[in-house]
């Protein structure tokens, strides 16, 4: 028994050490760098016109991605869970593809499609509409990488709760629209909120897909991750660390939100 305890404690110590070295030390590393840079310098670097523009752009793109993908994500979940049709596995595979594709390849595909020499981009260019190297392309790229979140979170909830309650409401004489608003949406509420939080987390941090389609133009198409990269390559380490820490804090707050939502939805 004693030998087992030694092995057990050794395993616990090794696992905790590994986790601490791999994940926690880097988190403390960036905090230390920002303190070295100085809090007032850090704040000043976050208030420069470039930084402010980047924050504003990130917020706008994130809002667009959340609105569009929560509508279409919920719609996709409902169609996939409730309707019967052939080729469902293919559709579900398409839905999961953004999780498996490299962000750089995703961005590249949109350049091929919407770029100046692209299949569709050519036509838009003639109408005077720029998609690639402009904000619309960045929104499209963000939509691509965040598409599965809401749909994938709503699907299991819909499978579990949705149908029976809806049938009950329908039998009791509720209209389709009433059923949808009063029964379907409340029952998948936590799934949608969870999916939206994941969408926000990914949208504010997306780098690869966005940098490829954006052309990385300062004050025009730079989001916060691109701004961090820019400051770093310009040797403005302090500014890069400060913006990165702020983004890390926001991401961390989102993680805590996710875990709170998860506990709440477990209870209800």
């Amino acid at each position: 028994m004693k030998k087992g305890n030694v092995a057990k404690n050794a395993l616990i110590v090794m696992v905790v050490m590994w986790f601490f070295m791999l994940i926690m030390v880097p988190v403390f590393g960036i905090i230390q760098e920002v303190f070295k840079f100085g809090i007032s310098n850090a704040v000043a670097s976050l208030l420069t016109p470039h930084a402010r523009h980047a924050f504003l752009l990130t917020v706008c793109i994130t809002i667009a991605a959340v609105i569009i993908n929560s509508v279409f994500g919920t719609l996709l979940a409902m169609v996939l869970v409730k309707q019967k049709f052939k080729g469902k596995l293919f559709i579900e595979g398409l839905l999961d593809l953004p999780f498996a594709v490299s962000p750089v390849v995703a961005g590249f595909m949109f350049i091929i499609l919407f770029g100046p020499q692209g299949f569709i981009g050519n036509w838009f260019e003639n109408q005077g509409i720029k998609i690639i190297y402009a904000v619309p392309g960045m929104i499209i790229a963000t939509l691509f990488v965040t598409l599965p979140f809401v749909a994938r979170e709503v699907m299991p909830v819909l499978r579990e709760f949705g149908l029976e309650q809806e049938e009950a409401a329908y039998v009791l004489g509720a209209s389709r629209w009433q059923t949808f608003l009063k029964v379907t949406i409340p029952s998948v509420k936590w799934g949608i909120i969870y999916g939206i939080t994941l969408t926000v987390a990914r949208a504010i941090g997306e780098f690869g897909a966005v940098i490829v389609v954006s052309g990385n133009i300062i004050n025009r198409t730079q989001t916060v991750p691109l701004h961090i990269h820019q400051e770093f390559t310009d040797y403005n380490y302090g500014a890069a660390y400060s913006a990165a820490l702020l983004l890390a804090l926001v991401s961390f707050a989102l993680l805590i939100t996710l875990q709170t939502i998860y506990k709440k939805s477990e209870q209800s």
Binding site: V15, F19, A100, L113, Y170, A248
Partner: protein, 278 residues
């Protein structure tokens, strides 16, 4: 918005409208770009595509990507399973905090991950300077790539194995013990086989993520051909230098890997469901 009427009648018009709307979105956002890249790569002929894929720097970056991803997966299988095991089976102070923090890498933007690692292991840091004095270069070299991959994929194996361990009853292990099996025999013959589908799922997710990882790698490893240039960075470099043709070859290879991963994960899911029933 199917009304869920009893019994379900044949598909109504509004069903068709909703379905078309959902599929059009999926088609425009996901299927169309995939068709476009395949079409573009076939346009100039397979021989040109093959030539792009087999350029020495392209081959090197692909090899580097696969080897670093493979090393990361091997480490993650061990550390991830051990972490899940400790979190499920043992009690220790700070356990629930650690359980909550496991997902930190999923929440962190990749560029932030890269910056964090540079802060700790970069040449300007204490740790980095220490290793450099001993002739070990972590950043802007291969160890940095593996470190970044280990960070971004850490939760995959843990989160895949954890629920299976919670569900797994100890009956089988106890039965084996009663029959006289030793601890190591039980682990190898009883525990590992029932965890295998979950471990493989976590491994496949980590591997797939590693093949496409970009943000953290470009920060910690840079873009040095024949040294630290991985596939995604190579593709990015070709696009940036206005040579989209050169980016096509590796993009197609990565895309094929993505399809294979999705297929493999589906097969695994099917397998573990049968395993549960059996």
């Amino acid at each position: 918005m199917n009304s869920g009427s009893l019994p379900p009648p044949k598909t109504t018009t509004s069903d068709i409208v909703l379905r078309s709307l959902a599929f059009s979105y999926l088609g425009l956002l996901i299927l169309l770009p995939v068709i476009a890249i395949i079409f573009r790569s076939l346009e100039s002929g397979l021989s040109v595509l093959w030539a792009d894929m087999t350029l020495p720097p392209a081959i090197y970056s692909l090899k580097l990507t696969i080897i670093t991803a493979f090393i990361m997966v091997l480490i993650n299988i061990v550390t991830g399973t051990a972490t899940a095991w400790v979190l499920v089976r043992y009690q220790f102070p700070g356990k629930s905090l650690m359980d909550a923090l496991i997902d930190v890498p999923f929440a962190m933007p990749t560029i932030v991950t890269g910056i964090m690692l540079v802060a700790v292991y970069g040449p300007r840091s204490m740790v980095g300077a220490f290793f450099n004095r001993h002739g070990i270069e972590i950043m802007f070299n291969k160890p940095g790539i593996i470190l970044a991959l280990l960070f971004v994929t850490f939760p995959f194996v843990v989160r895949a194995v954890q629920p299976v361990l919670i569900e797994m009853d100890k009956d089988m292990e106890e039965a084996a013990r009663t029959l006289g099996a030793g601890s190591s025999t039980i682990f190898v013959r009883v525990v590992i086989p029932s965890l295998l589908p979950a471990i493989l799922t976590g491994a496949a997710l980590s591997f797939s993520r590693a093949l496409g990882e970009f943000g953290s790698i470009i920060m910690v490893a840079g873009n040095i051909p024949f040294k630290t240039q991985v596939a995604s960075v190579y593709i990015y470099g070709e696009i940036e230098s206005y040579n989209p043709q050169g980016a096509l070859g590796l993009s197609i290879i990565l895309l094929v890997f993505s399809f294979i991963t999705l297929l493999f994960l589906n097969v695994l899911q099917y397998w573990s469901r049968r395993h549960e029933k059996g």
